[in-house]
Symmetry: C2
């Protein structure tokens, strides 16, 4: 008997269609039990459309929805019948082992923190994102859960990302770096100077500060930063990538020669596109929550949803949170770390 | 008789060669007097190599050099015979009207602030960068001069960027936005919440917070942020662009069909490359200094140097700093702005 994975059918720009379809795709590849959380009528309607037999799935009716632009904290408290609030409550009550949603990120962070709670010892949850690099993938944490970071939070992000990289991304002894405006330990704000000191003594494979220009080089497996910096870095990359790819194909299609060239190259470009495609890497783990939570991209299509669910399944199989708890204990009880934090 | 533009021949990864060549290219297009600041012997050697008659140029011997990786504050004080320190002193003494360098950015900010000084009323200098967007170019300020920003600094950045956009980039009534993790005025850290309040009442064409994902859309002419955020945003974009372009051409060249296609498209791609090429936009103005200062990219080639010098010439012709002073007075003496700052 596998795990029970809850899926927020109402969350995301393309919900419920793409989410339902993604869940069906995932169900062909993994054998955990899926709990579909959403408006019952809509789920039944999607099943009819896709000619799916729902008897293998559990359906939990969540009449309410949280919009993508609604204010997180207020909404989560008010909308107790929303798919996000119900999913979080089920995770807290161990009725599901993992919860996957492509809905309102702020609401997911809020609901997970307030309803599910944190792993013992963890101070703040962090959203981790895998990005493509010249060497494969790297992880950036935090990209927006925590805008008021303390050095301890960043240390814990480093520890959690390191565990995730090892267990879920399969990296041997993942390197951890701090995103900063320069490589020297004296660079940046006071927050980052203290953080550098703590990382230097912590039981992590610390490689020092990493400049933003090197993020995509793949030298560093786990890039740690506060939620504001991470959010800006992530969103700017998306914006830049979008701009470049669109400019490129517009320039290529300008005349017949360009179009012909583009068509001839097209076959070769699938691997490149795959690298850039967030749908390939699936959702972003919300690390530190006392239960597996995956936040999919709001724009997720069925394939992205499928991959987000597969990430959840992998986290469960690897017992990620047990190892995170162990690692958090290790770094936080380290004597040299405690000395710096106490100073 | 035109202005006198000082050029740091020793500054940048490709100095002195590329800088000298860039100065020669610029001298064919603009008729201001060029003052070449660097190691005399090297300048003479470059002139010989390029068969240039140096009689039209003034040469100022600066025996010392500041390396790209040297610690700014200390070095500027110590190396008084460096091209950067000498250039800054000449700008202070009005022996030159503008100073262009592709050298150590931190040293340039330090020397400009400490030796030249700020425009009356300006609290902190800011580095502004023009980036390509879907609609043309936008300006981001600050990308690394000021890592400890206050709301007043950001307000002044908005004012200075707005003037620069109008006078140098030729924009009618430039829009000004604040880079933040969300569009709502309640988003972000306390610094950004207060900043939003001040911008809302200031005499600027304020369009609100702008998310990082919209930076390259070109909706916002002047994107204002603190030096850490701006540095990360800029460097991540460069890194991302580099990664994408390299992956793309590698994917395209994988087999004969791909290579043929690439060759057929190549003619069409020059415009695209032009958009991405920092060499096209030239250097970054260091705004707020009581003298025109342009910081070129460390990797500048001759063309980039030429364009950086042209930007300096344009700033002088438009009397940029007089207008910045007027605008700084206007925003800082605004009653509603003063009320919020006093609160």
């Amino acid at each position: 008997m596998g795990y029970r994975i809850g899926i927020d059918i109402s969350g995301g720009d393309n919900a419920p269609g793409a989410v339902f379809e993604g869940a069906m795709l995932a169900s062909r590849e993994i054998h955990d039990k899926f709990v579909l959380i959403g408006v019952q009528q809509e789920i039944v309607e999607e099943a009819r459309k896709h000619r799916v037999d729902l008897s293998n799935f559990e359906i939990v009716h969540a009449p309410d929805k949280i919009g993508m632009e609604e204010s997180p904290a207020v909404t989560v408290r008010k909308k107790k019948d929303s798919s996000i609030a119900i999913g979080a409550a089920m995770l807290r009550d161990k009725k599901i082992d993992a919860f996957v949603s492509c809905g309102n990120t702020g609401a997911m962070v809020c609901a997970s923190t307030l309803i599910v709670g944190l792993i013992e010892g963890v101070e703040r949850p962090g959203i981790a994102i895998t990005i493509p690099t010249k060497k494969g993938v790297s992880l950036i944490i935090d990209v927006g859960a925590n805008i008021d970071c303390k050095p301890l939070h960043l240390l814990q992000y480093g520890a959690m990302a390191s565990v995730y990289s090892r267990l879920v991304l399969g990296k041997g002894n993942p390197t951890v770096g701090i995103l900063n405006i320069g490589e020297e330990e004296s660079k940046g704000t006071d927050l980052y100077k203290t953080t550098h000191k703590i990382f230097s003594v912590a039981p992590l494979n610390f490689m020092g500060n990493i400049e933003a220009k090197n993020v995509f080089s793949g030298e560093c497996d786990c890039v740690v930063c506060d939620g504001v910096m991470g959010n800006i870095a992530l969103k700017v990359s998306e914006s830049c990538a979008d701009f470049i790819v669109k400019s490129f194909s517009a320039a290529a299609r300008k005349n017949l020669l360009g179009i012909l060239g583009y068509l001839m190259m097209r076959g070769n470009l699938s691997e490149f596109k795959k690298k850039l495609d967030y749908a390939e890497t699936g959702g972003a783990p919300l690390l530190g929550i006392d239960g597996i939570v995956i936040e999919g991209h709001g724009r997720s299509n069925a394939k992205a949803v499928k991959n987000a669910i597969k990430v959840a399944a992998k986290e469960l199989k690897q017992d990620l949170n047990a190892e995170i708890k162990r690692k958090i204990d290790e770094v936080c009880q380290d004597n040299r770390v405690r000395q710096i934090l106490a100073a």
